[in-house]
Symmetry: C2
Subunit: 118 residues, 2 copies
């Protein structure tokens, strides 16, 4: 890989790190993790989300009980101010990353068409 | 998203587009697509690969016949000079993109740990 590619990648890393979206995300992440009960609640939420995503990806059936449990956990974390703010910050960061990827992947898209539709 | 993030993304797009890896990939891609028999052979190979990947992702069983068919198609395209060179160029481009992503995703990795292992 040419040094130009590395240079611009490291520059992007720096810009991401100093962006409002990332610094806000970091602040809220630290806030939630500094509060033991918030951290446990958030980790539990994450575990349930990931388990369901994995089942979905594997084409496994998700039971009504699992759906109900997931909905209850979402409702719980949404009522927690720090966690819900963290989740909003994560959403914004994801959108930034998606935007960056769309721009960066344009040369390959030009070659192969829309990603996943080759 | 701040203009800094857009600026650096567009700069990276430009650097990727003018990289040796991308220009070589584009050249070989055009070469294969300009040759009707090579194009059909390559598209057939791609279709088989994608079908197997999708089955694997869905946790579906891949039959010995499908494995054999895939191996035969790989052997066939590897003997075709333009296609095998295109596949090598694709591999190199993938490695560049993976390297860039590793660098760009470092800020988020610092927060969440190794991606996929949250
Ligand atoms: Ca295509
Ligand atoms: Ca972690």
């Amino acid at each position: 890989m040419s040094s130009n590619l590395y240079d611009v990648a490291y520059q992007m890393e720096k810009v991401i790190r100093s962006s409002a979206e990332y610094t806000q995300l970091r602040k809220l992440y630290d806030e939630v993790n500094a509060d033991a009960s918030a951290r446990v609640m958030f980790e539990n939420f994450r575990d349930i989300q990931m388990k369901l995503q994995q089942k979905q990806m594997m084409g496994q059936e998700i039971t009504p009980e699992e759906v109900e449990q997931a909905q209850k956990t979402v409702a719980l974390v949404q009522q927690h101010q720090s966690i819900s703010r963290l989740m909003e910050a994560e959403q914004r960061m994801s959108m930034v990353i998606a935007d960056l990827n769309r721009i960066i992947m344009k040369p390959l898209e030009d070659l192969y068409g829309v990603p996943g539709q080759q």
